[in-house]
Symmetry: C2
Subunit: 345 residues, 2 copies
Amino acid sequence: MTASPSSRVTIKDVAARAGVSKGAVSLAFNRKPGLAEATRDRIFAAARELGWEPNLTARSLSSSRVDVVGLAICRPARMLGLEPFYMEFVSGVEGVLTEHSCSLLLRLVHTVEEEAGLLESWWRGRQIGGSILVDFRADDPRVAAAERLGMPVVAVGHPSLTGSLTSVWTDDATAVTEAVRYLAALGHRRIARVGGAAALGHTVMRTAAFDAAARTLGLAGARQVATDYSGEAGARATRSMLTAAPADRPTAIVYDNDIMAVAGLAVAAEMGLAVPGDVSLLAWDDSQLCRLTHPTLSAMSHDVHGFGAEAARTLFGVITGSGPGSHPVPTPVLTPRGSTAPPRG
Amino acid sequence: MTASPSSRVTIKDVAARAGVSKGAVSLAFNRKPGLAEATRDRIFAAARELGWEPNLTARSLSSSRVDVVGLAICRPARMLGLEPFYMEFVSGVEGVLTEHSCSLLLRLVHTVEEEAGLLESWWRGRQIGGSILVDFRADDPRVAAAERLGMPVVAVGHPSLTGSLTSVWTDDATAVTEAVRYLAALGHRRIARVGGAAALGHTVMRTAAFDAAARTLGLAGARQVATDYSGEAGARATRSMLTAAPADRPTAIVYDNDIMAVAGLAVAAEMGLAVPGDVSLLAWDDSQLCRLTHPTLSAMSHDVHGFGAEAARTLFGVITGSGPGSHPVPTPVLTPRGSTAPPRG
DNA sequence: CGCACTCCCTAAACCGGTAAAGCCCACAAC
DNA sequence: GTTGTGGGCTTTACCGGTTTAGGGAGTGCG
């Protein structure tokens, strides 16, 4: 109400109004002992009346702890918007950050080198207290960067990719194996996989797991291809697979995200193939999108929100100095819906 | 290389190494005049050798300008992930921010009141230098909050909703009118609209525009309904419309985003109705999703990335003190694809 | 009464930069 | 030989908090 128009209330004003020193106000606001109850109340009242909130910039300058964590995402903008994954992940991260009254500094970058540079810059400039790293690739430069800087970091990726960094990860290999087993159990022999970006570590692992599972099950007709995760690439890959001679054509396709599976569904429709009659489709991640198609998409489903939350929680662990560790989150589970069935004939 | 292990390099270290004072280093790094070329070089060399970057916290404390802008988004997490809109918008914002070496502070909130509180807190705590506000509703509390605080802000929404704040907006009314005219021109008389959240200002405007257009064109069978933007709600609304008696059933449906249109497409398929034969569908926003379905979705398309970029540019304008203003961005244009055609019979 | 011991609180030194005022010196003009 | 003049750099006072050393008042005890 009486908030001064050119609002520049500082701790000094509050101190003056409460008739105490700056130090006392600081003590009160940081809930530290050594202040009489009455004084504390007086200080809070004064602050409320003036509409004062501690200047976090000043606070982090002197206390040298920063209530901001960084997240840089490195994917082309076109794909980002479409991938429900990231927003859900971010919302999971947010939930936990908010509990700690911490904020998220977000940046979209184009290359992993740019990202490494950005992280260094953020850290050196004391803009962030730590960071969440996603989309690991083999020999990822961020591992060395984070180690060299001594920056608290949680790496979202398999421990084999993240070096000495604390990691949070899902067991992609097991999930891929389960997907293949499921389709094989339905009777499929020619199973294909439309994978994500080949440069990404988890794509490599899924590819290897797919190969291994196919070999174990003796599936001669298994094949896979890498894409860039975009719907267009998914459509292209699907089209190329489904135009093969009927005897070579896969009867089931696993996708690395849901967007590509949706695109695959459209391609099947466009080619006059029935799903799941002529070809079964299995999506990955399982956002709501999978329930909005006809037929609905079976998927390897995954609590992405919880994944983000776990990453954030783990980061707080790292910041408060718990040793490095590996934090698996639940393996994606198969959620059968309308797009998978035994092959015809 | 020789970066000190417990990296705590400050401006003082750089000054010492270059044999100058702190002030000189500051001058050099802010590209201010008054330093000899040679000295400047020496300073940069020293900084490079020590791996120093200015501490932005300290900088903004003394210069009282903050290189961070805030963005709070107020929608349920489930919907956020799905809406390609936000990530595309954010990526547009990012592009411009990066040019100004500015960062984005992102937060997902649950209510508009919470958002108003958060903005106040960010601003009071000098965490942000300004903010982008989205999803305006009637009598939005953020208008008063931003005015009271004197915080530089750009409001993404129609000027009629954003009070005295500088606004960036698309002409939804015109776009809705164009959509209706197009469908009417194809021969449709029973046109329906599946709208977004009724509480949002632009939903209200689109609803009014739809009514007006239907009246002007003498479309007796026009009807519309509000949803929460989720695919499920879109499916439900579509189902309810398409189960009407054939004589009452709409022959064309306009959706307020693409997710609902995709869901609508699935519902039509599930009910055995041909698109566009039995019913035409028209999406809004036009992310890539519209090209991934079969048939592809006609849409009112919209450069969302550019929209975000314009919002960010405008915010910089506000921060540097240009007066309030209204910045329309291009009206969504009709992009006909496979989901719209003249009604059968 | 003196002394130790709490309990509350203040004063002052930071944190790492920026900004404005000031100092020194070379060179030019009168 | 003064007296500008201005380029090049240093000094110093902040910015708005946190933190620590320490001081005064009150209490218990010998």
